[in-house]
């Protein structure tokens, strides 16, 4: 996809998250299709592309909504890193299969989930924000209160949202036709 495309996506995502969503949502089809297609240019991305097509987010989120930070600068860096890594690996063919998301990019997707679902999941992170600590410690001199606990990873439970995931989390393919 064009640099301009990323820029728009990035800008929108960065400046006004909510409006950013309407933008995707309204023109979804064309915009998303475009972005996704760009990624799917690489046949090695085909499986994930197909998975995304069948995923629950097809209508609401394209590749970069989950795989690029929702702030402009980091986004460009990540794109640069990934862009380089991908083309290098693609041309050299030096990459492990099945392809697995890297730590850095897993962090990016995790942040993406929270960016769009901030409100609905706010409750489940109760008791994990540092701000509460000091007060808590003061109030209970006799037990140590949990130190700020890391938030809980979305994809531990929802890891099929981006890409329909087959076994063990999916119903297996019952092709009747043979050969």
């Amino acid at each position: 996809m064009s640099f301009a495309g990323w820029l728009i996506g990035g800008l929108v995502g960065a400046t006004f998250g909510v409006a950013g969503f309407t933008f995707f949502y309204a023109k979804g089809a064309s915009y998303l299709g475009h972005d996704a297609a760009a990624c799917a240019n690489c046949h090695v991305m085909q499986a994930q592309y197909d998975g995304w097509l069948q995923g629950s987010h097809r209508a609401v989120a394209a590749c970069n909504d989950c795989h690029a930070p929702h702030a402009l600068l980091p986004k460009l860096t990540v794109k640069a890193v990934n862009g380089f890594r991908h083309s290098l690996m693609f041309t050299t063919g030096w990459f492990p299969e099945p392809i697995r998301i890297t730590r850095m990019n897993r962090g990016v997707t995790e942040a993406a989930c929270r960016h769009c679902h901030e409100e609905i999941v706010e409750a489940i992170d109760a008791g994990t924000s540092i701000s509460h600590r000091p007060a808590a410690r003061a109030a209970s001199p006799h037990e140590t209160v949990p130190s700020a606990r890391e938030p809980i990873a979305c994809i531990r439970c929802h890891h099929g949202v981006g890409h329909v995931d087959f076994a063990p989390l999916g119903s297996f393919d019952q092709e009747a036709s043979r050969g």
């Binding site: 909510v18 769009c116 489940i124 109760a126 808590a136 949990p146 606990r149 890391e150 809980i152 439970c157």
Partner: protein, 433 residues
Amino acid sequence: VNIFERKQEAKNPFYRVVELTEETEDPAVWGKNFPMQYDGYRRTVDQVRTRFGGSEAVPRTPTKADPRAVVAQSRLAEDPRLKRMWAGYAFSVDFREERGHAFMLQDQMFTERQHAAKQPGTCLHCHASMVVPYRRAGGGDLVKGFEKLNPLPYEEARKGVKHPVACIDCHDPQSMALRVTRPGFMEGMRVFKASQGIQNYDVNAMATRQEMRSYVCGQCHVEYYFKGPEKRLTYPWHLGLQVERITAYYDSVGHKDWTHAETGAPVLKAQHPEFEMWSQGIHARSGVACADCHMPYTRVGAMKISDHHVQSPLLNISRACQTCHRWPEEELKARAEANQERVHSMRNEAMDALLDLLDDLKSAKAAGDTLKAFREAQQFQRRAQFYLDFVEAENSSGFHAPQEALRILGQSIDLSRRGQLALRPMRAERGGR
């Protein structure tokens, strides 16, 4: 699919209507700030039966001694063999299917086991909201209060205990963060981690959030015994969490729960080792916590909260299982029950084997067999029985760790049969016919 409306409703999920402190014991007050969690919490009075779990509401006519109008079905009636396994112990008098948290205090107060034996204050550790009572008794110090109440007669210790497990027992009133408030578990984890080379483990300071989602349950859903005259609640994890290690620990300290009435063997009772069994299973290994299945997230309007209606996940499969397993509900139910059935049928064989051993021990006693062989057979009974009970008392009917449960039952069968063999020399060994 309009995310906006949701966002509107969702603005600030916590209405801090009241200020919560370490003195706020009544869950109804916490419920003012967190009405959705409170609603779920109150639904633990529901009684629904599943194939192997849940519980059945059995009506009864209240008496002065036991005012309960409804109890859970009797496990002793379901399988009378249990009475022989526990012959001479309070459990052979009254043992019922467990039910929701709302009942924990009354079920403990009114079980006939209270009359069959004099019970200590220690019992309360896992059947009530104890943060405030322990602190009060300990002059502000939780552990001191725990030590103070343990040795008291149950009735006396119970004075000033008001609620079943409540918000304050699992949550910090300021931050709502999970916390462990039970001395038994704090010490249990300390000795267990020490056995793994980690010294001075402090669960509240060192556990991750995901671990806490299981540890708050591990405070009570564990095997235990009362140590010494102080009746100190002790979790036998000094050598590890597996049944072999626990047995080894009990042997090392020469502990027995009672003397078996039929055989005179120094036997042990296993009690709800959910935490220990879970720790041996594939779900624990995959980082799946008790709360993931027993308190799955549930959507209420624009918010997602933990379902505080703690219950059998098989009564809530879509939320408890389907986020991770995309099989149809019926299929997931069938898979869980298939695991449970395998374990249950082997549990029945192990039970038969144990009763055969009891028969042999009785008739050997009658025939006045040589002491040596008899003692040996009693030791076999001690282990065979504890292994079987470890699976029998584990309330998931094996689901928490099917392979481990089957392995333990296989051992139990072997031990019971070898106990019989110890009493039955071959003719050769007996010397001719």
